[in-house]
């Protein structure tokens, strides 16, 4: 099967992704937001870094890494955003409210790792 169309315009080249752009994490998976502090404006709030959550849903239509593209680099393959549920008590030790309360936020695949704890 050829993934390259006949005489496509250069911007339409269909390149096969090594991983088929399949999501790396499934719904219900425990994940941890990576702790790193690149210089510049990044879309993962500081309060979230290092926190553990659960994948609530996989956001449809994979997307290129906006942050890489935003800083002028070619982001390559598309990856997924995940809607993550993180308990308020995981983020704020002195949180006042129900233990069921949570933050929901979309996080790009490059910021997540599977949590095995």
């Amino acid at each position: 099967m050829s993934l390259i169309k006949q005489n496509p315009p250069t911007y339409m080249l269909q390149v096969a992704s090594a991983l088929g752009e399949r999501p790396a994490f499934s719904v219900g998976k425990a994940v941890r937001v990576l702790v790193r502090f690149p210089v510049g404006h990044y879309r993962v709030p500081i309060y979230l870094r290092g926190k553990k959550g659960i994948v609530e849903s996989i956001i449809a239509a994979p997307a290129v890494d906006n942050e890489t593209e935003g800083f002028g680099h070619n982001a390559g393959s598309k990856l997924h955003y995940y809607r993550i549920a993180i308990p308020m008590s995981e983020i704020w030790k002195d949180y006042v409210g129900s233990t069921a309360d949570s933050v929901r936020i979309e996080v790009y695949e490059t910021w997540l790792k599977e949590d095995l704890t």
């Binding site: 309060y47 956001i59 449809a60 955003y81 069921a100 309360d101 929901r104 936020i105």
Partner: protein
């Protein structure tokens, strides 16, 4: 009245501010002007396209979102489609997403209350609600909504019982959120238009419920 000298010299002060722009444009303002003019010169975009886009932005109001909510209340099949894909649901009603964002519609129930915030800046479902209110963009709301949502909601007069779960959706990247408030009691006989009148901007951000039918009418 004491006579007022009008032989203007350069030290004369008017008793009122003149309506003129006196501040010099800042670094980013100048950069924006330069990039825009380059884009015009290269015929990549036209001044009329910019003007038109501003017109589109200004045409969006919470009335659009209220129409979506009211339609979801009266049409369960539409509501299911809207919750599955918020953007497609709104597009069914003719609302375009000029900013190419996705939309997740969050349903409030007896067990779950949703609140939206953008802790990083001011991401907001502009295609369906228009421009955000000033308080939504200011740091006190952005910091506190994520840290003490129950206290913030109480300041809006919204008291959420402890057995109701609060979900704060922090909108920071490609997705925008719209809260689908609970349909008020006593509205079974209401038309879709009457229902839409109960859905305010703040209810779709999640800081208040939809208007109750016994509430005082708006002044």
């Amino acid at each position: 009245m004491k006579s007022h000298s009008h032989d203007h010299d350069h030290t004369h002060h008017h008793p009122h501010a003149e309506i003129i722009e006196v501040a010099k444009p800042g670094y980013y303002e100048i950069m924006e002007t330069a990039v825009r003019e380059l884009l015009f010169e290269k015929n990549l975009i036209t001044p009329n396209e910019i003007r038109r886009q501003i017109e589109v932005l200004d045409s969006r109001t919470p009335a659009l979102g209220a129409g979506v909510v009211a339609h979801a209340w009266v049409d369960p099949a539409f509501k299911a489609r809207l919750l599955a894909d918020g953007r497609k649901g709104c597009e069914e009603l003719g609302i375009s997403f000029y900013d190419d964002t996705q939309l997740i519609v969050l349903e409030n129930t007896k067990h779950v209350h949703n609140l939206i915030v953008c802790t990083l800046c001011s991401c907001y479902p502009r295609p369906v609600l228009g421009l955000p209110p000033d308080w939504y963009k200011l740091k006190p709301f952005r910091a506190r909504a994520i840290y003490e949502p129950r206290a913030v909601l109480a300041e809006f007069g919204t008291y959420i019982p402890d057995d109701v779960e609060i979900r704060v959706s922090d909108s920071t990247a490609i997705v925008r959120y719209l809260v689908l408030p609970m349909r008020p009691a006593g509205t079974d006989a209401f038309t879709e238009e009457q229902l839409a009148a109960l859905v305010t901007r703040d209810a779709m951000i999640g800081v208040v419920p939809a208007l109750s039918v016994t509430a005082e009418p708006a002044p």
